[in-house]
Every structure is written in C-alpha cells, then in structure tokens.
Symmetry: C2
Subunit: 411 residues, 2 copies
Amino acid sequence: MRIETRAQATQRDETDELAPVRERYALPDGVIYLDGNSLGALPAAAPARLAHVVSHEWGQRLIRSWDEAEWFTAPARVAGRIARLIGAGPDEVAVADSTSVNLFKLLVAACRLRPDRPVIVMHRHDFPTDVYIGRSVAELLGRRLRLLDGQDPVAALDRDTALLALSEVDFRTGARRDVHAVTRAAHDVGALALWDLSHSAGALDVDLAGATADMAVGCGYKYLAGGPGAPAFAMVARRHHEGLQTPLPGWMGHADPFAMSPEHVPGPGVAQLAAGTPPVLSLLALEEGVATFEGVAPGVLRQKGSALTQLFIELVDARCSGHGLRLVSPREASRRGSQVSVRHPAAYPLVQALIRRGVIGDFREPDIARFGFAPAYLRFADVWDAVEHLRAVLAAAEHADPELPRRGTVT
Amino acid sequence: MRIETRAQATQRDETDELAPVRERYALPDGVIYLDGNSLGALPAAAPARLAHVVSHEWGQRLIRSWDEAEWFTAPARVAGRIARLIGAGPDEVAVADSTSVNLFKLLVAACRLRPDRPVIVMHRHDFPTDVYIGRSVAELLGRRLRLLDGQDPVAALDRDTALLALSEVDFRTGARRDVHAVTRAAHDVGALALWDLSHSAGALDVDLAGATADMAVGCGYKYLAGGPGAPAFAMVARRHHEGLQTPLPGWMGHADPFAMSPEHVPGPGVAQLAAGTPPVLSLLALEEGVATFEGVAPGVLRQKGSALTQLFIELVDARCSGHGLRLVSPREASRRGSQVSVRHPAAYPLVQALIRRGVIGDFREPDIARFGFAPAYLRFADVWDAVEHLRAVLAAAEHADPELPRRGTVT
C-alpha cells in the first residue's frame, strides 16, 4: 500500500507486526529518533536491570556475583542472541571489548591463516577505525594495506590477497554491499572475507552462514541498543576455529581462567577472543538491548527498514524538492542499509534545526545529513512527521538561523 | 598503640582519619569484605548516578549526551583523578579498555621506543594475562620474552633488555617490589620499566614520577572500586609522548575524531591510547569509584593498609597457631601490599567456610587463602572479627564440612 497521507502512515503502523517490539523501548516524548545507528534507544527493561545489578549484585553480593548472578557466562549468553541476528552459530560469536579491538584481533588472526599472502584489502572510506587498525596490523605483520577508493572491491582481489575486510553498510552513504557476491569473489582467489556489521546487526537480514563469510565484527550500541559504548562482537566461522590465534590472549580467554597458569591454553573456538575482564555493567545493558529482539526475525526487521527508508526517500522527493537536497544513499532498496543520507551545502545547521524540532539525525563531514531508521522502534508516522519537519525547516530556511548551535562534536 | 582487645580495635577506628571515607561506600550488613582487591565495594553514590545515566542521559537525551552530559570527556576526567593516586601527571594517564589490552598497547609502544633491543623481561608468576600478552607481543615484534622465575629482576637485566614489565604487588603473595630501585636498575642498562599497578592504585602510595617509571597499567575494579570489569588505565611518562605509537589506533584516539579521516593523526600524548568507543556505563561507575578518594592522600591509605595487614598477621600468629597456616606474604610491612596471603592444605574449603560466616576473602591456586585490606573502607574491628572467625573455623574444623561449596569459579 502506497502511503500518501499521514493517516495512511498511521494505518500502516497499526498493522505492523513489529509494533509490540516498539513497546520494549523507552522512547522520549516529543522526539523522532533517527539516530539509532549512532546510539540505539533505551530498552525499557534496562533501568530496573541495571539498578539491580548495581545495588544488589555488585553492592550486596560483591565478588560472589561472578558465579551467582552469572556474570561469567554473560558474554556467551549475549553472543548467542547476537548470533541469531547475523546468521551465525552461537559457538561462532564472542562478545568482548570494542569493535576496534575485535577488528585488530581478527585481522591479525586472518593474516595468520594466510601466512604467505602479503596484502590486506580495505576501503579508504570505510569507518576510520577500521582503516587505522588495518594499517597498524599491516605494519606489525609486515603486510601491505591496499586501500580501495571507490572501485569495485572484487577488482582489487588477487592471489596476493590474504583478506578483504569491508563494512556491509557504508556509514556515510548507507550503501549496502552484496556480502554473498563479495565473499564469493574473495574465496575465488583464496582470500578470506571479514565483514564489519556495525550498521547491519539488528536492522538487516544478515546471513553470514549463507554467505560463507569467514569473520565479522560489529557494534553493540547501534541497532542492538546496548547503551553507549556497549561491548562489541566478533564472529569466526567454525572452520577457522582450529587455526585461530588471537594476538590479545587474556586470562578471560583461557581454557581454565582460574588455573592462573603462565602458559596460555586458549579456550575452545571463539572463547579465546575474550581478553581481559569485561565491563559488566555495559555488558548487561547490552543483554537487555539484544533481548528486545527476542522472537523477531531478521527478515522482518529488514523488510520494515526497507519500507521506512523507501517512504522517507519518496516523501522527501515529493515534498522537499527545490531546496538543494541530493540523495546520497542508493535509491534501490536492496542496495541500501536502514539509513538514508542526503547532501546539502548547509547540512550541519540543517541537522541542528531538525534537532531543535525534536527530529534527531546526525551530520557527517563534509555535507551529509544522515538519518537512521531502526526498524525495531521507528514508525511510518514518524517518517511522515520527520519529512514534514524537514520540509518546514527548508521552507522557512530555519537552518540559516544564527542562533543554532555551531559545529561541535555532536555526532 | 598495640591492639590486643576488640575494644582497642574499635578505639583505633574512632580516631581513624579515613573513617569518613568509609561512609562513601555502601557495604552490605553482616559481611567483612576482604576481597576489595578482586572487586572493590560499591560507592554509595553509584546507584543514583547510574540510574540517572541510564534513564535520563541515555534514555531521554540519547545521542546528545555525548556532549551534553560530557561522556566524551569522561575518560580524561577519570584519568586525572587516577593520576593523583599513582603519582603521575593528569596528562600522563589515559582510561580505556581493559588492563590486558592496555598492557598490549604499552608493551608494543615500549618495544618501538627501544627498536634495537631484542628482549622483554617479565616474571613467570605475574598475573597470567601479563605473561600471555608479553609472549604475544614478543611473537608479533620478533622479540624474545625472558621470564624470571623467582630470581631478582635486576639480575636479569642487560643491554639486550628493551623493557622490564612487572607488577608492583604480586597478586598471589602480596609481596611488594621496590619500584624505585628496580626502575633505576632498568634505566641503568638503558631499558624501560613498566609497572602493573592493578593491586596498588587506591591502596598504596604509588609515586611513578618519583620513581621515574616509564609506563604503567592498572585495573579500575579493584581498590579503585569502579565496578565489575571497569575500564583500566595506562600511564606513559611525558618524556615518551613524542615517540609514542599505539598498535591500536582507534577513532577515539584521533586528534579530531569527527573529521572521520582515513589518515590517523594521533591525539596529543596519551590521548592516542583511546581506541574504540568506551563503555560509558562502566566508565561512569568508575568515576564514582575514584571519586571516593577525593581529598584522600595515597600516603594515608598506605599507612592504614600497612597497619591493617600488620594487625591481621599479628592476630593470626597469636590466635590461630597450630592449625597449619603458613604466612606467604612478607612479614615486613614495607615489602607487602595491602594484602595478606596464607597457605593451608585445605585453603579452598577454608575460604568457603569463612564466606559462610560472612568473611569474604578468596582462594588462589594451589593452596592460598588471600585476604585484601582496602584501606578506604576496612576497619580495625573488621580485622579483629575476621581473625576471630578464622580461629573459630579452624578450631571447629569447619573447613572439613562436606556441605561446603565445592571448587568452582569463585574468585
């Protein structure tokens, strides 16, 4: 059904099978939150859980909670729930550290699995940390980092390639890569494929097993709604477990942590990817985040995300033309993540003017306004209203208001 | 004043200048907590702070809190407070990741500062993660790890030594190394000295500047009371900032994170040690932990810790003899951290029997009962009572009770 009025948008929301999932979040009144791809919304159960963890488990039970409150097994529990959302086995996913640190572990491990191949391929416009870490690993291991610059990743692969590491969704443009085809191309030359799923997990129908992807990393605090700086995840396909060797062997990744042995005996499979003690408060908040996806099929998230972004694009086309907005994200839904980016010469104040109206998106250098559509809690009526605000801002040139906040660190 | 009765212990508590500091913690009734060196007690202000952070800052203000609630500057704020406790400048300390990951960063950075020296010296009985990470760094950089085994660290140093990395306090025995003398010896052969302060910060009068130590790492969740798995810290002396190069260059350590540039321009000094996004909930709990030390001089903590451990040793000598306990920790207070370890053939059930009585210490393989004395919140009367419980357990052979919990993962 085409949505051409607000009433139609509301009607669509009423039949949305994800409507009950929205109730699992505590969203602020008066806000249309189009930045769930920067920091996911608060799971409604998180405040009570955290209060209990802090006052009772930490305060009253103290050290005993590692066993009693099952802090020890929390990383594996959370990993199991994330695994389902990315099409991996629960024994293929670990939760630990940050995306940057996990990427470091896996890039080193991947190069060790391809000892005779000198090249790591990444994309210059990928999330900066990924490129920095790639360069660092190349330097440490005496490999070369080949940085793509717009061209087809497949064309850059050859028999020298140890590994291709890419984001599934471009954090700026929202363009979605074809994980299946690119992974196949990597395998065709004998290289491994590693995917950064930071802008995928919890929004897209990721199918790592189907794509025979080798490794993946991703963020816990975006669509997965784990809270600011939540621990990240790392996936390694079962067939690589035997040769896996992390460069960050910590006591938590030891087969028997409390043996306190001077020899590192890696835990089975991805268990060795745990390094030091995990940040339990942030980890248990992440558990509440991933719990909001209970019973939700990734395909349903993907479908709704496609429909939300499609509606946004169509409404912007129809109602905001003539104001210098240019669509950056692919028009074709299958080539797009759950995000729409537009260019505008005044993108920064434009985003600020929207925030003043309660529509929170974000700005990306140099001239991109980025809007994320978390399918778990965004409504079609929100999309309608957001575009109405955008139209009003542009029509009244609210972005020219000198009272708007100046360029700061707002993400 | 010698303490020979419980009344004298209580009297000593009444004149303790740290008595008001104890009020900054929320301690459970009926528990004598001698495990603050595994997981520090709950700061009384933490529950309300965390509730606000979760419900308001995350839930209501969402992404805006990075600026508005000063999440961005939290790592530097916390680092500044820790710096004072370890005798470093606020610009010499970073808060990020775990101790394991920070140790990795600094070991690599230290080796890069000594490119022509092939050897890293560590101790076989140091905390396992430290040894595992040391071995991994040696492998990655083509260096050798020389593991001490009981001998004097100074004797193992030579012109091949790039770096000596040691814990100030042995986590098993509680023996305290002479940071000044050992650092001097390292410098005498042109090596760097790195100290793991996990069992020092918040309990001892650490003076990194006075010792001219080069680098340090340490834990946020022990004496610093930052909560389970709190972020860790890393210190690099100012004179090494210019040549510093982290192997984990993340976007949060970039000079201008939101430029999102493909080139890594490291932030000034230790700022580059931030890698990915920090776990904000755990980080702000740590801020409450370090805030409990406001106005407290490290020397005062040290003095009280020495007195508490001394009293424990004397009372155990006087009241628990004849039951097979052997003191592992040094008898001389200056050579001891804020911890007393004793050997006993039945150390595991002994610790369990004490826990059943509300005296929480911990067990370390193979036969060590370990008792930590957090000077910020432990009382002399607690020491008296703990020894009374220990005496009673031993006298009645309560540790032989088959109903006690069996060996598990209890730390």
